[in-house]
């Protein structure tokens, strides 16, 4: 029991360490938080996001910074690894809000975002998340901004585009087998898909779920393939998706694969030989349209990071920071989250964005049209109609 001394001493020591201002903001630095998985199973995705954020911040700072209320300030992104766990996300959020007094926190995952909604209004920080989950903007939270599509709003249009493309190229598309990744995003995406798919009188012959950390899908695939689907729907990032594609091909599947926006397609091209992956269709934001802005971004990313292919989420992070900087400019403050949120709708006048987005509504949703990417001969071709 004397050993409770140790608990006290350690707690006090820790308290002192924590209370010590970590990264005291210099007078002209404005911090914002980035909660993202840098370790664990989602590390690749989370690291991409962080890199995109960093690139944007560095560029803006190099160009002189953001002008807020007449003064030039530098952006100071502060990253916190949440290991893709909700309680660590809360740790990060609390830390960033209390210690660094950030007025905004960005995160690329629903799993990280939702726990933060429990206290972001109370602690007055704006939550920017790339969650496609419809419920993100349905909770009445006044300080959230989604800067990717709301899958409920975009699925109908996107599915029409998909079916038109398949018809155009003579690919049979009456039945689909779904490989559903067991994340919140995966589930909600599939829900929206199934809803729109069955409305069009088409069939789902089978559904199997899997964990994105898994590597062997033969069991699920063999079962699904026995039902002879025309299409296989994947629902996750490129790496495990490419394993699914490979194994399905090796089991004799000759049909077409379709993937959600979790994948950006390019990585799949790198990991698989053309004959396996040609013809695959991916849900893509205007990333697919390969705008000059996107090409420029990709060039810069490769130069900085060892010629690696950027994931779409890196571009989203990059764009999110640019939007934020514009919002700060319009709001005239870098500390008042409510004012910044109010200024956000006006921030979409940035020229040359990688993604097409507009019309931020009061709930926090934006118009973020989704297109198709067709993987063919080592390239991703954007299809918009």
């Amino acid at each position: 029991m004397k050993c409770k001394c140790v608990a006290v001493i350690l707690t006090l020591l820790a308290a002192i360490t924590l209370a010590a201002p970590s990264g005291v903001a210099a007078a002209d630095k404005v911090p914002f938080g980035v909660i993202t998985p840098l370790s664990g199973g989602a590390a690749h995705y989370g690291t991409n996001f962080w890199r995109g954020v960093q690139m944007a911040a560095e560029e803006i700072n190099k160009a002189g910074g953001v002008s807020v209320g007449g003064k030039k300030v530098e952006l100071d992104p502060i990253v916190c690894d949440d290991e893709f766990k909700s309680d660590k996300s809360v740790n990060c959020g609390r830390r960033l809000a209390s210690m660094n007094h950030v007025p905004m926190i960005m995160t690329p995952a629903s799993l990280s975002a939702f726990p933060l909604m429990g206290f972001n209004e109370k602690m007055e920080f704006l939550l920017m998340a790339t969650s496609q989950s419809p419920s993100f903007t349905e909770k009445g939270n006044k300080l959230v901004i989604r800067f990717i599509n709301n899958v409920d709003r975009t699925m109908d249009g996107w599915l029409s585009l998909l079916l038109k493309q398949l018809e155009r190229t003579g690919v049979p598309s009456k039945s689909v087998a779904i490989m559903e990744v067991n994340t919140q995003l995966g589930k909600e995406w599939v829900q929206a898909f199934e809803r729109e798919w069955t409305k069009r009188n088409r069939v789902v012959v089978g559904k199997a779920s899997y964990d994105a950390n898994e590597t062997d899908f033969n069991a699920q695939l063999t079962s699904l393939l026995s039902k002879k689907p025309d299409l296989i729907l994947l629902t996750t990032v490129d790496e495990p998706s490419s394993l699914v594609i490979k194994q399905a091909r090796q089991l004799g599947f000759k049909g077409t694969f379709v993937n959600s926006a979790a994948s950006s397609g390019e990585r799949m091209l790198e990991l698989l030989p053309p004959e396996m992956v040609n013809g695959t269709l991916v849900e893509l934001a205007s990333w697919a349209l390969n705008s000059p802005a996107k090409q420029e971004f990709e060039r810069k990313y490769r130069a900085k990071y060892n010629n690696e292919t950027p994931h779409l989420i890196a571009g989203v992070g990059y764009e999110g920071v640019r939007l934020y900087a514009r919002a700060l400019d319009k709001a005239g403050t870098a500390t008042d989250a409510v004012k910044i949120r109010q200024a956000f709708p006006g921030a979409y006048d940035i020229p040359n964005t990688i993604f097409k987005m507009s019309k931020l509504d009061e709930k926090g949703d934006i118009d973020f049209p989704m297109y198709l990417g067709l993987l063919k001969d080592k390239k991703v071709l954007g299809i918009s109609e």
Partner: protein, 287 residues
């Protein structure tokens, strides 16, 4: 029928990998009572070594795997000396904690050194698929099964025909008695870790081309390996191999005939049922 054969083939192919890791684990856990949860991550390091040798230095694939095994064996000895030997007399749960410390160490090191992106080991065998009786069998996966069988025979020969192997068996059966007759417990410990680690590296190098190489690739493997050694009996080499294939088959056939959505469930449920009926596992001796 074709479906059934494919499922059986799937089960054997995936079971081969499980078996290889389980083999390493059964030696380590069975002989040293070290619950080395980090073995899956050791397999991962073996896969990375293979990847770098093949892609950077253009080493022949099989040679690369062999080198990875040798390197991992040395690393295993170091791990035994520095981490597990100091705590060998402490309660076993401490070994459990140490293994997790090692796991975090290995995972974070590989994240820092090599990043989180998946790496591809290019071999000629990965794209070739044999079709036998309607079942599709990728060549690389068949190689894993062959490798498992070859290694199994090699290990059996080692255990039964060499002095070192005999020492290992003695320690696993009756530790105190073995020490009394003069067997050097510490050297056996180092040897066991070396062999177990090499096996893990082989598993990583062999399965790398199939599933890609990334820092958390070993996480699920080790859990299944623990299930297998309990199924097959701790310390039983045959149990590890048979258990591996059995687990693969259960997963595959159940996914096919019950539902593919519960794949992971079947392995764990199977163990629960087996233990309920036979608390010492299928081949285990009562402790």
């Amino acid at each position: 029928m074709e479906l059934f054969l494919q499922q059986v083939a799937n089960g054997i192919m995936v079971g081969g990998v499980y078996g290889l890791v389980a083999l390493g684990l059964t030696l380590i856990y069975g002989v040293l009572y070290i619950p080395n949860f980090a073995l899956g991550h050791q397999a991962m390091i073996g896969a990375y070594i293979t990847f770098f040798l093949v892609s950077l230095y253009r080493v022949n694939y099989f040679l690369a795997v062999a080198i990875a095994m040798a390197v991992m064996a040395l690393l295993g000895v170091a791990i035994e000396r520095l981490i597990f030997r100091p705590i060998k007399d402490a309660p076993h749960v401490n070994g459990f904690i140490a293994a997790f410390g090692l796991l975090f160490l290995l995972e974070s090191s590989s994240l820092i050194a090599w990043g989180a992106s998946y790496r591809k080991i290019e071999t000629a065998y990965d794209s070739q698929v044999l079709t036998i009786l309607g079942a599709h069998l990728p060549l690389q996966r068949i190689m894993v099964v062959v490798a498992v069988i070859v290694i199994f025979i090699a290990i059996q020969l080692f255990l039964r025909r060499t002095m070192a192997g005999a020492a290992l068996r003695a320690v696993s059966q009756q530790r105190e008695a073995a020490l009394l007759v003069g067997i050097d417990g510490d050297r056996v410990a180092s040897l066991t870790m070396a062999v177990g680690s090499a096996l893990a590296a082989a598993a990583g190098g062999l399965i790398g081309p199939v599933i890609l190489v990334f820092p958390t690739m070993g996480s699920m493997l080790i859990v299944k390996a623990f299930v297998i050694i309990i199924l097959g009996g701790m310390g039983s080499v045959a149990g590890a191999i048979v258990g591996g294939f059995l687990l693969g088959l259960v997963e595959s056939l159940a996914s096919g005939f019950i539902s593919p959505s519960y794949k992971d469930l079947y392995a764990f449920l199977f163990l629960v049922i087996v233990l309920a009926v036979r608390p010492t596992g299928l081949f285990g001796r009562a402790h």
